[in-house]
Symmetry: C2
Subunit: 456 residues, 2 copies
């Protein structure tokens, strides 16, 4: 491990500086006005991989944003690690809550602050730099392939087709992904489950135009009020989701599995203090770890309608909208849940309004194995670099593509992430610890070594 530490010590300032260059590119995949920036970021990733020593580096165009492919095959008889990551980022809104501009990265108290610093540019770039390290120190023990996409934050809509068209090129033994968190910098952990996702936008339309609320109020359906009613009818008083059939396929964990899950270090007091809330809020009968790990959810991500400017306007608006996402657990499927929701939501609408449900994107829930060579290689690598054996955890988030990798490529994934839940991903002031960035670069080569050795 000495060569790893030496190389990192020599080059860490450049690593960080290069990451910050990439963070200056506003690669927001959700908003078409950033399309050129997303492409520019793909070119940046390509250049980094070329410089690190990869072969066949290519910006693969898709009907949406491009996928960057690269590989280094040193011996066809050795195993192949396929690295997945993404270079696109969430929109930076609300802008006024950022302490510094989202695309002008700064380092503050050991944290790299910028949109995408953790999710996932910083974590993806660890792999590029770890690859560079292995190449420059002659320590690459096996083959590696890179598949870095630009649509993760909008549902990876074109990755599926691309994978199906490139099955041959993507042959490998495991998918390695760093897009998740550890419990704390001194408590390493590895996600062994991810929730799926169904993301929809709903529209409730009342009268054909905005009306004066004094003249028409009380007699015409108010789309905002109706939308609120319909939303509140999607959960009961126990915060149990009321969509008929929603829980039918949910895989129930055994008492032992739940006890195991709840043994993860967790302090409810610290959790509440960190969020400055007086109480948590969720499904009756489940702990916070269960609510975020093994139970499906129904969350409002956005709502808007009527007058939202300064002051008062007495309008009865024509329409109201909401963005709703449901996190799914094994064995729910995204398409089925989206349909159940749409049917239920439509059934809740009174005759005085019209309802439209538009699916945005989805992803399937996954559970990754803990008895595989790849998981052991990751666990041992983290134990070596953190000095502590990592705890297997269930992540609440979704990387929808993990299920697809399994289906299309027959490959299991290892979710060896280095972020923290407090990194404010998807939020203003997103950041990523310099410690975590460098710790990732240190751990990845050890994973490669372990995986190669264990595969023999």
């Amino acid at each position: 491990m000495e060569h790893i530490k030496n190389y990192i010590n020599q080059h860490q300032e450049r690593f960080i500086s290069e990451l910050m260059d990439m963070l200056r590119i506003p690669s927001v995949s959700a908003d078409s006005k950033y399309k050129d920036d997303v492409l520019r970021n793909a070119e940046f990733v390509k250049k980094s991989l070329v410089e690190a020593g990869a072969d066949k580096v290519e910006v693969c165009l898709t009907p949406g944003h491009p996928i960057v492919y690269a590989e280094k095959i040193i011996d066809a008889n050795l195993p192949t690690v396929v690295v997945y990551g993404h270079y696109d980022v969430q929109p930076p809104d609300p802008l006024d809550l950022w302490d510094s501009p989202p695309f002008e990265p700064v380092i503050k108290d050991g944290l790299i602050v910028a949109r995408g610093s953790c999710d996932d540019k910083g974590q993806m770039f660890m792999h590029v730099k770890a690859f560079e390290l292995m190449m420059k120190t002659d320590a690459l023990p096996c083959n590696v392939k890179f598949m870095i996409e630009g649509e993760e934050e909008v549902g990876s809509s074109n990755l599926g087709n691309w994978i199906r068209e490139n099955k041959e090129r993507l042959k490998g033994d495991v998918i390695l992904i760093s897009d998740t968190s550890i419990i704390a910098n001194d408590i390493p952990s590895i996600d062994v489950g991810l929730r799926g996702l169904s993301y929809v936008e709903v529209e409730v339309a009342g009268p054909n135009r905005d009306l004066h609320s004094g003249v028409y109020g009380g007699a015409v359906a108010n789309p905002i009020a109706i939308l609120c009613e319909m939303i509140s009818k999607c959960k009961d008083e126990n915060n149990h989701i009321t969509i008929p059939g929603f829980y039918d396929k949910v895989l129930t964990l055994t008492k032992e599995e739940r006890e195991e899950l709840n043994r993860a270090p967790f302090s409810l007091d610290e959790y509440k203090k960190d969020l400055n809330i007086d109480d948590v809020h969720g499904e009756t009968g489940y702990t916070t770890l269960e609510r975020t790990g093994i139970r499906p959810t129904f969350e409002l991500n956005g709502i808007w309608g009527g007058y939202i400017g300064e002051g008062a306007k007495t309008v009865l608006p024509s329409k109201a909208f909401a963005k709703i996402s449901m996190r799914l657990v094994p064995n729910q499927t995204s398409d089925e849940i989206t349909k159940l929701f749409a049917d239920h939501f439509n059934s809740l609408a009174p005759t005085s309004v019209k309802v439209k449900v538009t699916p945005h994107h989805g992803g399937e829930p996954v559970v990754t194995p803990t008895d595989s060579i790849a998981f052991k290689a990751a666990s041992m690598a983290m134990e070596a670099t953190f000095g502590k054996k990592p705890i297997p955890t269930r992540g609440g988030g979704s990387i929808p593509i993990v299920a697809l990798f399994e289906k299309e490529l027959g490959l299991k994934s290892v979710l060896m992430g280095f972020g923290l839940d407090s990194d404010l991903i998807h939020s203003p002031n997103e950041h990523y610890g310099v410690f975590n960035f460098l710790k990732g670069i240190e751990t990845i080569p050890v994973f490669f070594k372990n995986f190669t050795d264990l595969s023999k």
Copy 2:
């Protein structure tokens, strides 16, 4: 009446052209960025009144937007009509729904299209032009005072103080206001009741920052979902408002009064067709005319929270907001209802969120007399110019200042409006008929004549 028609025929093009000049001024009182435009509009009103022949014309500054005062005293023994109107307008949002820019007036199919064309610049300007007509044709039969304010759309917050400070100057016999509607161009009507208003903004705050909905969803209160729940708990399944004490002081109409009210010409089919809705929606047990005329309401005017941009963002937002207004009927009072609402809303909040209720503005409900000289003068004037006796109606909207005039000046108001409910006031493509504008200018001098004659 011949001199009236002749003068209008000669000058109508100039009248309309002057109104259009004023409509080009974006006098949006709710938004501070238009402050200079609001002042510019006050100066425009001043200039128009000076040119029409008024004395002591003054732009009276207030801590908010100014009030324009003017008068013409021809004989202290004759009665005095105090004309009230407002030159401020509603915000023009949503801009993308306007067929032509809101502050670039156009005439289309006999309609003057612009923000404020009806509410209230067009209706207020009828009085300026009718005054000009009476002055230029030597036909002013009594004294007149003008009080034209710039804060009606934001609750007239400074008019109250100004009235108290100017009681002597405002002495008169009746307040004449054109800021309401007639049933149709061939069915004249006069509003004899107006609802009051309590307008509040609410904030529901959950965690101290926007969170990733995958990592925290299901375990932390979602402010949007909680806000929706709280809003939906403010009405029951009969659309009856559930705020404790809300209906306690509501004046109940007799069976005869309700029958009288429901005799006004009204077609539910045409109403639904006009709004393109399959059904109306309101309090069980009341007709549409009752729901908008004599019953209090609880309406959502705006809602916002989380991600409302293009595409998807999996955020669990820190806060959600709504603008809510309640229309009040006799004998509800604005302050009391605002307090009842705030208490109720706070009581609905679970411990996992914090709630803030901010009152915006309010106004008291009023009923104007139908047996007064002023009402008779208005009724006869309309009968003379429309050829049909006007129907007394109850308006759903609020002109909060009417109650204040009675309290502070001891003066009753006459609500002789010439708009139509279909004029899209407060909405995109607000318009005012050229017919209605000229009919108002024609009717007002007849009112002055009738009022003077009946006062003898």
